[in-house]
């Protein structure tokens, strides 16, 4: 199936190129200098010329085994939000996780991946990776609310292209910029995708607050009578209803390779949830010891600062 597509694409391209007159140098693309006859790899976006950019992004979404029901629902929600994704079966491996995943991605012919890893049935880590040799990020996911919650009342077309809004913090630093680019490529539905729907009726919000990336998904609802035109002043009456899901990403590390490779960035504020739990336990465990210590301390203090004899001490003595 993939091969047919490649052929038709190259054939469609060639006559167009011939029409342009003088043969120009092939543009520099991510995979090096491209010749017209060269078969384009499927797992790459192909900017042959600026007018002919086609976003051929495909995302593979998988999870690890022993994933929680809540996180599984989150993953399924994301699958329904991204029409350009392919959901794969659970991935088993503990060791050599990176290699297995890379192979899987190649096999399915995808260019990016979202991998949900659930540790100890409690913590969810999300990997966002670009397949062939692209960077990958590991996040800790917090504050998960899935679309099934009845408080999130909005609804939108399945597969319509979302508007992505980013807060201005994303331009502040290099790692945020990289994350922004990855998010745009993964979460943005390619134009003219098979499963995409024409209108734009929902918005994604990615916002950095307290060094976490918060995600929200809102439905755009405007009261309008006619088909496409907006009622006068309708822009003011536009309201957003939350559709969900909601989650909060805490970046842990950015790697240069896909699911591995040299570390490019570590989050200095990140504390692993295991550490947090350990600290809690240690705090609780030290209670008795602390009490005993406090007692001895008090005793020492009393001994070192003796009280003056009280004048009323003997008042009631027989």
């Amino acid at each position: 199936m993939g091969k047919k597509r490649k052929h038709s694409e190259t054939q469609a391209v060639e006559p167009k190129k011939k029409d342009e007159g003088a043969p120009e140098r092939p543009k520099r693309t991510l995979m090096g200098w491209k010749d017209k006859e060269e078969v384009q790899t499927q797992t790459d976006s192909n900017p042959e010329s600026p007018q002919f950019f086609r976003n051929k992004e495909k995302v593979m979404v998988t999870c690890s085994r022993r994933i929680n029901y809540r996180y599984r629902h989150l993953m399924l929600n994301l699958v329904s939000l991204l029409p350009h994704c392919k959901k794969d079966n659970k991935v088993e491996s503990r060791s050599s996780k990176g290699a297995t995943l890379n192979e899987l991605i190649e096999l399915r012919g995808c260019s990016s991946a979202l991998f949900f890893e659930c540790r100890k049935h409690q913590d969810l880590y999300m990997w966002m990776a670009r397949c062939p040799n692209g960077p990958s990020v590991k996040f800790l996911v917090n504050a998960v609310h899935t679309m099934e919650e009845l408080k999130l009342t909005g609804n939108h077309l399945k597969g319509s292209r979302p508007l992505l809004t980013f807060s201005s913090n994303f331009e502040k630093d290099a790692h945020w910029k990289l994350l922004k680019e990855m998010i745009i490529q993964i979460f943005g539905t390619p134009k003219e995708h098979r499963k995409s729907k024409p209108y734009h009726d929902h918005v994604f919000v990615f916002s950095i607050v307290d060094d976490h990336i918060w995600f929200r998904n809102y439905q755009i609802s405007v009261p309008h009578n006619e088909s496409d035109k907006m009622v006068r002043g309708g822009l003011d009456k536009m309201t957003l209803v939350e559709v969900g899901p909601r989650f909060c990403l805490n970046p842990i590390k950015i790697f240069a390779g896909s699911f591995g490779g040299p570390t490019l960035y570590e989050n200095p504020f990140y504390v692993s949830p295991n550490q947090i739990r350990a600290l809690e336990k240690r705090k609780k465990a030290g209670k008795y010891a602390k009490k005993v210590k406090a007692k001895t301390r008090r005793k020492m203090h009393e001994q070192s600062n003796p009280l003056e004899p009280d004048e009323f001490a003997d008042m009631w003595r027989e």
Binding site: K27, P47, P50, S80, R119, Q122, R130, G134, N142, L150, N155, L157, G159, P162, L163, L164, T165, S167, N169, E171, A174, H175, L178, K180, G188, Y199, H200, V203, V205, S207, V209, D210, D211, H212, W214, R216, Y218, V222, S227, D228, M230, M238, L240, C248, I252, A256, P262, L264, Y265, E266, Y270, V271, S272, P273, N274, I276, L279, E280, K281, R282
Partner: protein
């Protein structure tokens, strides 16, 4: 710190803590932290200062960014990304403010996008007659609607209850007022008659009928129908006239049973401290079902 507390709230305390080799980031810094914590016995020690050995490879990041990013002159239509200015710092722990910030960001973004689309002449909004598969099923939306309606109904009921409570209180006050009025009126009239009688006595019974003062109660008004709402009810009827309701359809047997029970137990509890198991009541079977032996066929005999 906000996100830390969020992590805490999601975790449950476990029995054994295993150190996950993959998750430990900076071993030296972590040990420092734990040591300092146990020494100082502080309450809430999380990673207060950023760990100093965190890697930050700016050039590498920029290089990777250039590797993966799409070419510069790609049409905005492919990206559909908008950058919204975040004016002020939002406190993470203040839920309302945070959600409001997200909402305003989304709203701003949508407005900008809409303007762009309009300028390009492309369709933006979904027309109301476009039906296609939605991301949440209809059944789910029904549930959502049900929940919203239930909430609304709850609020309304609470309102109604409060209002009726208020109204009852006011009605009670008004009733008390009325009773007081009536008592006062009655007293006044009696006083008047007494006065008149005394007057008459004093002036020696010589006046005729023409000197009778007009009493307020002499016009036929008091013989008119009292404004009682339940006219057929006698004042000593504690059930308020409702004792016989719904009795039209009962069979004779049940009615007799019911009547007997009512007279014994109904409307005010036990009638007097009378003896229950006396010689007369031992053989009194009015309260029991007749033909009880032909009852449960399923029961083994």
């Amino acid at each position: 710190m906000g996100p830390r507390s969020k992590d805490l709230s999601l975790l449950q305390v476990e029995n054994n803590v295993e150190d996950d080799a993959d998750d430990v980031i900076d071993d030296p810094s972590e040990e420092e932290e734990s040591e300092s914590e146990s020494e100082s016995e502080q309450e809430d020690v999380k990673l207060m200062e950023p760990s100093k050995t965190a890697i930050y490879n700016r050039e590498g990041l920029v290089e990777r960014l250039e590797d993966i990013s799409w070419p510069e002159n790609v049409d905005w239509m492919h990206k559909l990304s908008l950058d919204i200015d975040q004016e002020k710092e939002v406190d993470v722990n203040d839920d309302l403010a945070r959600e409001l910030a997200f909402y305003t960001q989304a709203l701003e973004g949508t407005r900008l996008a809409f303007e762009k689309f309009e300028s390009m002449g492309l369709p933006f909004l979904r027309p109301p007659d476009y039906y296609a598969e939605m991301v949440k099923t209809d059944a789910h939306m029904q549930k959502v609607k049900g929940k919203l309606l239930a909430q609304k109904r709850q609020i309304e009921e609470a309102e109604e209850r409060r209002k009726s409570r208020e109204a009852k209180r006011i009605a009670k006050e008004v009733q008390a007022e009325k009773l007081k009025e009536r008592a006062k009126q009655k007293k006044q009239e009696i006083e008047e008659v007494k006065k008149w009688r005394k007057q008459r006595q004093q002036s020696g019974f010589k006046d005729g009928k023409d000197s009778m003062p007009d009493f307020g109660f002499e016009d036929g008004k008091s013989f008119e129908r009292s404004s009682k709402k339940r006219p057929g009810v006698s004042p000593w009827d504690r059930s308020g006239g409702k004792a016989k309701q719904g009795g039209g359809k009962g069979n004779d047997k049940n009615k007799k049973n019911r009547d007997f029970r009512d007279s014994k137990f109904g409307f005010g509890g036990k009638k007097g401290m009378k003896k229950q198991n006396t010689a007369e009541t031992t053989n009194d079977f009015r309260a029991f079902n007749k033909g009880g032996a032909a009852g449960n066929k399923k029961r083994k005999r």
